[in-house]
């Protein structure tokens, strides 16, 4: 999509199949030669998204499980909120975090805007509802099966939560992978709060957007290929996780 769009904008380059072929050749060259700039961007992307994922899992697993095993007034609202927030548009999250962290904002004094930390915060906000909502669903199904056993054994809420989280581990890894997939592919939020600063906050998605608009299709494509590979790996892992769970009859 970006490629076609940029072709339209490039006046002094003729856009044809040969250019595409050349771009692909260069892209693979960059990936295979271990280009430093490329790898810097990849490493930062992974750092940001994995950190965000870690935060989201700690919060999302806990909240999702808590809501699944407890009954309290307003519980239905919590469930609806999780499910609604699952579809948060990344640019809106970016905007909110921007307002929060900008100099005039409530957390402005921390000076976090345009840092990787800001990007981690934005991505964590983006995927925590996903992790929480999917976790709630999974744990609730499991709990309906274990509920009477746990009551009979006299488990406390915390003991029950621990046991449920452990027994749902394969499904929860799949949830984490889904969250990671969303974080690493997201562009709007990190663009706004990170600013796409070279060597500082440039990640794969923002670099692709920039390089494409500049007309450097090779780097953009190289990053696109890496992003695709990561996405495929994540999906393969999710698939094998499901297979493992089924094989062990833990699912």
């Amino acid at each position: 999509m970006y490629i076609l769009h940029s072709c339209g904008n490039l006046r002094n380059k003729r856009c044809n199949l040969q250019d595409f072929a050349e771009a692909f050749r260069l892209a693979f060259g960059l990936v295979l030669s271990g280009d430093r700039d490329l790898f810097e961007i990849i490493v930062l992307s992974l750092q940001v998204s994995l950190s965000a994922l870690m935060i989201s899992c700690v919060i999302g697993f806990t909240l999702g499980t808590l809501v699944a095993v407890t009954r309290f007034p307003g519980r239905g609202l919590a469930v609806v909120t999780f499910n609604t927030l699952m579809g948060l548009p990344p640019v809106v999250v970016g905007l909110l975090v921007y307002l929060l962290l900008s100099r005039a904002g409530p957390l402005g004094t921390l000076g976090l805007l345009y840092t990787p930390t800001a990007m981690i915060i934005a991505q964590a906000i983006l995927i925590t509802p996903i992790v929480a909502a999917l976790t709630r669903q999974i744990i609730e199904d499991l709990f309906s099966e274990y509920d009477e056993l746990f009551q009979s054994l006299g488990l406390s809420v915390w003991q029950a939560m621990g046991a449920l989280l452990w027994d749902a581990r394969y499904s929860l890894i799949t949830v984490a992978l889904a969250g990671f997939g969303r974080a690493i592919a997201e562009v709007g939020a990190v663009m706004i709060v990170g600013g796409n600063i070279d060597h500082l906050t440039r990640v794969m998605t923002t670099a692709i957007a920039l390089e494409t608009s500049k007309g450097d299709l090779a780097l953009a494509l190289a990053l696109g290929i890496v992003l695709l590979a990561i996405s495929m790996t994540v999906n393969a892992l999710a698939l094998s996780m499901r297979a493992t769970a089924a094989r062990q009859a833990y699912a």
């Binding site: 009477e148 009979s152 054994l153 006299g154 452990w166 027994d167 062990q248 009859a249």
Partner: protein, 259 residues
């Protein structure tokens, strides 16, 4: 048929019930008074009265839908009555009383873990994770060779034996079983009945739901016959099987259909 199942080590649960009973007040007599349970606009347990003593194995019998499973859940405190009282030695079912009892469900509920971890989970809860005791329990139900299998890959009979071993791991004073052997292989049925007998012989009160008349005859000290949510008859086993006083029990024993 595995012969070793009939000569199991006798130390697993020995003396536990009497030790616990010395510490806490006895759970007996169990007195159920005018118990009512309603759900979905239907009265499913209907002014049920029942008194059970600490001794022996009580068999809970009755046609499908009589309320046997509901009564067991009410006694254990998993569901609350709509009206009436349940008193275990003078106390309402609560968490403390629940912990002194163990319930084996009709359809075993096993954790998504290995056989070993299913036992260890309960041992740890009771602060006594102990490999030796776990091995003893597994040996007792004939599952030593399957110790490292995922529990949910076991056959139905093996799963129920594991559930029973897990129940015994809590050293209960009362063992409640809800049709534990319905649709199991004969070897598992025999093993479970044997363990239940041994457990009762050690002073654990057993309340066993079944609608298998043969099984009731093999295990019962006394029989409670439920019909439409209340007790139609409660009698010592010998009397119940030779000369049932209620017409529904007589029909049931004769193999007639009860409405």
């Amino acid at each position: 048929m595995r012969e070793f199942t009939l000569q199991m080590p006798h130390s697993v649960n020995a003396g536990s019930a009497s030790k616990a009973a010395a510490k806490a007040a006895s759970l007996f007599p169990l007195a159920v008074n005018a118990l009512i349970f309603e759900a979905g606009g239907r009265r499913l347990i209907d002014r049920l009265d029942l008194t059970l003593s600490a001794a022996g194995t009580t068999i809970l019998m009755g046609p499908n839908g009589a309320g046997k499973s509901l009564l067991l859940r009410l006694l254990h405190g998993l569901i609350l009555p709509s009206d009436g009282t349940i008193s275990w030695g003078g106390k309402q079912p609560d968490r403390d009383i629940q912990r002194r009892q163990a319930l084996v469900f009709q359809k075993p509920v096993l954790l998504r873990r290995s056989v070993t971890d299913n036992i260890d989970f309960v041992l740890r809860l009771h602060g006594q994770a102990d490999a030796e005791r776990r091995q003893e329990l597994l040996a007792r139900v004939g599952l030593l060779e399957l110790a490292h299998q995922p529990a949910r890959r076991l056959s139905g009979g093996e799963q129920q034996r594991l559930a029973l071993a897990r129940a015994l791991a809590t050293r209960p004073e009362v063992l409640l079983l809800d049709e534990p052997t319905s649709s199991l292989d004969p070897a598992s049925v025999l093993m479970i009945e044997q363990i239940v007998r041994e457990t009762a012989a050690r002073g654990v009160k057993v309340i066993f739901v079944t609608h298998d008349i043969g099984q009731a005859r093999r295990l019962a000290d006394d029989v409670v016959f439920l019909h439409r949510g209340s007790v139609a008859e409660h009698a010592p086993a010998a009397a119940f099987f030779s000369n049932p006083s209620s017409s529904v029990a007589r029909d049931f024993l004769a193999g007639r259909i009860i409405l």
